[in-house]
Symmetry: C2
Subunit: 330 residues, 2 copies
């Protein structure tokens, strides 16, 4: 088996974010679930955009944010995800390719436009997402090339992929290829409501197909239907897998079977926008793992990357994370 | 004459900004003039975008930034400018309309796409703009409706409009309508190189058609071909018009014939990105004038608005400026 070309091969919903500020009352009046990823259709997307204030656009998508963060740390990544041949698709593709990320997925022509997520940032820095999947529903197993997947040290999949039906098959095909090539498979549970929508499938995935698990407190307690984080943690420890469980300002717990480290959240002057926090945490953790820095150091890098992205509007780093990590170590 | 419906009617090049960080070496290698607005064609736009790193998109355009800032201060504005019927045009139109700005200009169909400006932010916070005018070249006198222009207390024109040839005629038509309706006409000189390109026309405009003049130090010394700011200021004082002359961190001078006030720059923790500084200064100054707050207070509000916009990436305010002004006054 040749050395992997990439540290990570990521598959995800390819989305451009539309970020705007609003208060809790707006969230309530629009019937959104605060802090969650709400799926919306094209008609609702139009109405919501009309109701939304002035916005900023930036490439997003959970997995794409993670590979962008990995690249900013100095890692190498490939990304599989579907955008349309339109201006938002141009933006999405540019932002990956200009970061040095291999992005071979064919554009969708004559179908739905590039996906967008209307992200409402409330005064507490929380983000509430409203995602119109658009071209993402056209991602199919044909977009998963065996040589790309086998070329990555770790295949990383986002739970959100379970929402567009054809993407599920792409997801399972990729996991099969990765394991045949003796690569590791990582999964993010993505969102507590996403876990609820696909609960049994996710349990099967985690137990039978996944080597490295990412989840936040709400997601892991939703998966194991436990009352507390501590109970869920006990179950995860019993799996004997690598896992990173995040708890917002309470930091995170990283573990590999019996090796467990509690990691403090890195300090932030002011939480401006939590969009991308979990995604950038994953960038840092996977950078650490693929560069053999040890579990604890991987968790620390993860915390620093997450702290950077919540200090400004938007889900992608605004500084070179490799420089930031060097500064913090000095 | 009916009371004006709007404080300001603005006409400008309608542009979406593509903002990215790079160092001075990139500016040099790409042959850009640092700090200036460089005009580029479609082919160059494509090549430049390929060379540029990951970016953030936000509605821009000097005049559109100014009316957005005015709306954020609580003022009322209309805007005339040309975008295409495409995704970037949707973004531009949304960001104006959702701020409560009247934007009646018909979209361009079947022509060039919506204009974009590739803005390179260097580590010193300076911005260097590279503008592909796209649909802006299709703004013509037909887009200037007499009832819109006559409905504004002040007609505000940007010097950049002198670049697309047909827009010049729209500009002159609007100035004629405004004066016939006994409205005031304001002009921004926009950019020192823009002044150099259209020097004699700009002199004629300032002396014969303009009541309120905005210029920064480089622009006003380019217009009057003086060696120092002080010499240029003397010439401007002799015009007997209202003027606001900005000097970056040295603050600004606001005057009306013999009434002259030196205004300090409002404090900023860190200059992140100067994009929109002059535009937001104009928002504040025109808000003050149209709300009869006096020349000095108008200059102070202008400084606070400019300070907000340079404290983050992008040319539009990230907080409600009306609240910010209230806080500062308290």
């Amino acid at each position: 088996m040749a050395d992997p070309r990439w540290d990570i091969v990521g598959i995800g919903n390819a989305i451009v974010d539309v970020l705007a500020h609003a208060n809790d009352d707006f969230i309530f009046r629009q019937g959104m679930t605060k802090g969650a990823m709400n799926l919306i259709d094209a008609g609702r997307a139009e109405l919501l955009y009309e109701a939304l204030g002035p916005a900023v656009e930036q490439s997003g998508g959970s997995m794409a944010n993670t590979v962008a963060g990995l690249a900013s740390l100095g890692g190498r990544a490939a990304y599989i995800g579907k955008v349309a041949k339109d201006q938002l698709g141009d933006i999405f593709a540019h932002d990956l390719k200009s970061a040095g990320i291999y992005f071979p997925t064919a554009r969708l022509v004559g179908g739905a436009p590039t996906a967008r997520s209307f992200i409402v940032i409330t005064p507490d820095g929380q983000r509430t997402m409203n995602t119109y999947l658009g071209a993402c529903v056209a991602l199919t197993p044909e977009d998963v090339h065996a040589d790309t997947v086998a070329g990555g040290r770790i295949l990383y999949l986002e739970g959100y992929l379970w929402d567009p039906p054809a993407a599920k098959q792409a997801f399972l095909k990729a996991a099969r290829i990765a394991h045949q090539a003796k690569r590791l498979v990582a999964l993010s549970l993505s969102d507590a409501f996403c876990v609820a929508r696909h609960h049994d499938s996710f349990l099967d995935l985690v137990h039978n197909h996944v080597d490295i698990l990412f989840a936040n407190e709400a997601e892991i307690t939703a998966l194991y239907r436990t009352k507390s984080f501590e109970e869920a943690l006990k179950v995860v420890r019993g799996l004997g897998k690598t896992a990173a469980l995040t708890r917002s300002e309470k930091g995170s717990v990283v573990l590999n079977g019996d090796e467990v480290h509690v990691i403090q959240a890195a300090p932030v002057d002011k939480v401006v926008d939590t969009t991308g926090a979990g995604d950038l945490y994953a960038s840092g953790f996977l950078y650490g793992l693929t560069h053999n820095l040890g579990l604890k150091r991987a968790g620390e890098i993860a915390s620093i990357a997450a702290a950077e992205v919540i200090s400004h509007v938007g889900p992608r780093p605004q500084v070179r994370l490799a420089d930031l990590i060097k500064e913090r170590a000095a």
